[in-house]
């Protein structure tokens, strides 16, 4: 039986292989003369070329163009029809009487987004790392059904933002399952997504729900890298579990956690999709973050006129924040590697 199954599998793989082999032979008809002309030494450039063209077109050129867009004004997308140079966009973005009060700014939307993002990232990242570590430590124990539990916690990571947003929007409805549970325990109904004081908390909760599994997995890998003989020695000495955790596990996990922390911050600052589906940034602006501002200013067709320059300027500001975080991540992950080598 097993044999037959394997044979059919191989048969199907062979059939799948036919168009692949055909394509590859066809490409070889072009590649062979090229190799004859430029020589083996120069072939790697040919192999690199397609990927670099894509990078150039869709990453490097846009990065340069972003400066251009942010430093020019006009409603047109075409280069020739925009006015250059101007710091108008940045002036408008940073035109505030007091930076602490978004209402005094010309672009109050942007500043609300900034403060919402800071609030969101602080709580989302903090709580998420706390729960990821807790989950990872528990999953690292010798428990029954470890694989099952691990996949349960990981599973939401694979769901698309739309799916996550819709599931939770429906569960958090005023007449939804969550409120039914609360009421059955004698609580009062809560409008999780339409009450401004609850919306942010709900959004943070959903975002943690969706992304926690990913960080749990990374922390778990870090936990498994801790040498088991340390634990054995501690157990021999009769050290209490609490002490083992605070004196061995946590300190050895720290470099790992730093990287996870920055990684989560980088992702957190860019959060957009789930919130867009869940609340659309509302009620009012209470859950609208920076990327939401960029999206609305640059692309949302309804309401105000599209302002590519302002959107580009805002993304430059976001870019500076991300660059700072990324450099920190590189610094710490390099530190982590060198420490590992010392051990």
């Amino acid at each position: 039986m097993e044999n037959i199954r394997n044979q059919t599998k191989i048969f199907f793989l062979r059939i799948l292989n036919i168009p692949f082999a055909f394509l590859m032979h066809a490409i070889d008809l072009i590649m062979w003369p090229i190799q004859k002309i430029i020589g083996v030494r120069n072939m790697p450039y040919i192999f690199l070329l397609p990927n670099l063209i894509f990078f150039g077109l869709f990453v490097i050129i846009p990065l340069g163009a972003n400066f251009f867009f942010s430093l020019s004004s006009g409603d047109e997308l075409l280069f020739a029809e925009r006015e250059l140079p101007t710091t108008k966009q940045y002036n408008q973005l940073f035109d505030c009487e007091s930076y602490l009060n978004p209402n005094t700014c010309t672009e109050d939307f942007f500043w609300r987004g900034v403060y919402n993002t800071i609030f969101f990232v602080v709580f989302q990242v903090g709580l998420m790392i706390f729960f990821s570590v807790l989950t990872a430590v528990i999953l690292n124990k010798k428990i029954i059904g470890r694989g099952f539990f691990r996949s349960v916690f990981f599973f939401p990571v694979l769901l698309s933002p739309v799916v996550v947003g819709l599931i939770w929007q429906w569960i958090l409805l005023k007449n939804g399952a969550f409120n039914a549970i609360i009421e059955s325990y004698g609580g009062d109904k809560v409008s999780f997504l339409t009450d401004p004081s609850w919306a942010m908390a709900s959004v943070i909760f959903v975002s943690i729900w969706a992304h926690m599994g990913f960080y749990t997995l990374i922390v778990l890998a870090g936990l498994q890298a801790i040498p088991p003989n340390l634990y054995e020695a501690a157990e021999m000495d009769g050290t209490s579990r609490e002490r083992i955790f605070f004196r061995i596990t946590l300190p050895l996990l720290m470099p790992n956690l730093l990287v996870v922390f920055i990684l989560a911050s980088i992702k957190g600052v860019q959060t957009f999709d789930e919130i867009y589906v869940l609340t659309g940034g509302g009620p009012g602006t209470s859950t609208s973050l920076i990327v939401q501002y960029i999206f609305t200013t640059g692309f949302a067709s309804s309401g105000s006129v599209q302002n590519f320059g302002l959107a580009a300027a805002a993304s430059m500001v976001l870019g500076v924040v991300l660059l700072f975080l990324t450099l920190m991540q590189l610094y710490f992950s390099r530190n982590k590697e060198s420490k590992h080598q010392e051990i």
Partner: protein, 354 residues
Amino acid sequence: MSETTSKIIKIATKKRYKNKYHWTDYFSYFYLFLGVLLMFGPVVWLGLSSLKTLAGIQEYPPTILPLSQIQVDVEGYDKPLPIFNVTQEDGSVKQLAQIKRIGINAKMVDPLNPGETVKVPIDKREKIREFKIQWQNYVDPLRKYDFLLYFKNSTFITVVATIITLIINSMAAYALSIYEFRGKNFALVFVIGTLLIPLTIILVPVFYVVANFGMINSLWGVILPGAATPTGVFLLRQYMLTLPRELIEAARMDHASEWAIYWRVVLPLSIPAIAVLAIFSIMWRWNDFLWPLIVLSKSEVYTLQIGLNAFHGELTSQWNYVLSMTMVTLLPIAIIFAYLQKFITTGIASTGMK
């Protein structure tokens, strides 16, 4: 039987530490139990509810299983009426059909005797339910609305983008791992550099580039910008570095062209890494939202994600269709996860990417 049960009990109650339960053991199982409820519950709940009627979905407090109220045709009424068990004043229970609810009272009629109506306080009645699966929720949106088209678009984008990604990324990885050449380090830094620039900070100019190619409202406008992934190049390069060089030398001795070495020797040997990248790419593409949202504004080119979001925005009250289509959207990924779980988790743990 009893032996296995006792074995299971023994395993379940196995003590790890000094033959004593520590409070952390109890806490762990409690936490995991809660975790399963919270993590898995919503999706199970979604699956069950997508089989309910619209009325069943809107019911509050909700039922867990797809139960719906039995309805009967009563003479003299156009619509079928829902039936209730009504407790009479003398304590006996009678089945009555409800015509209308007025405040705390309900106007009801006996289906066997449609002539006279009675007023019943609403707390005296109880719904009669039956188990009924509403496959209509899945069939209707595919027929009446464009979900089949969205599904096709999503599949096209996922398949084509993954193939392109795999080919160009593996080519670049091959060049960066097998050869020594001038500018190799520069190319490597270049690739790392692109890793630092997420789409969110270059949204406007990428849109500009795509618009210049005339790819707005075209599936290619979604496929091409993300085709070259720095993570993919790195993943494959790290793997290809471990391949034995002798194989490549031997192939060169046999006068194989460089392209032939690439696809006949290196690619087949790198299948494990390519599989991981393929799974990632399928996940990225199927779940992609922000970029398609910007590029695709006509409903003929919507992907499943965009279509679902738009559908929900237009018809907020059609939760039965929204739930069933959400199931359709998440099912392919769930199936892939069920089969290839190990690949995905080890892939993430070893590369730290998602």
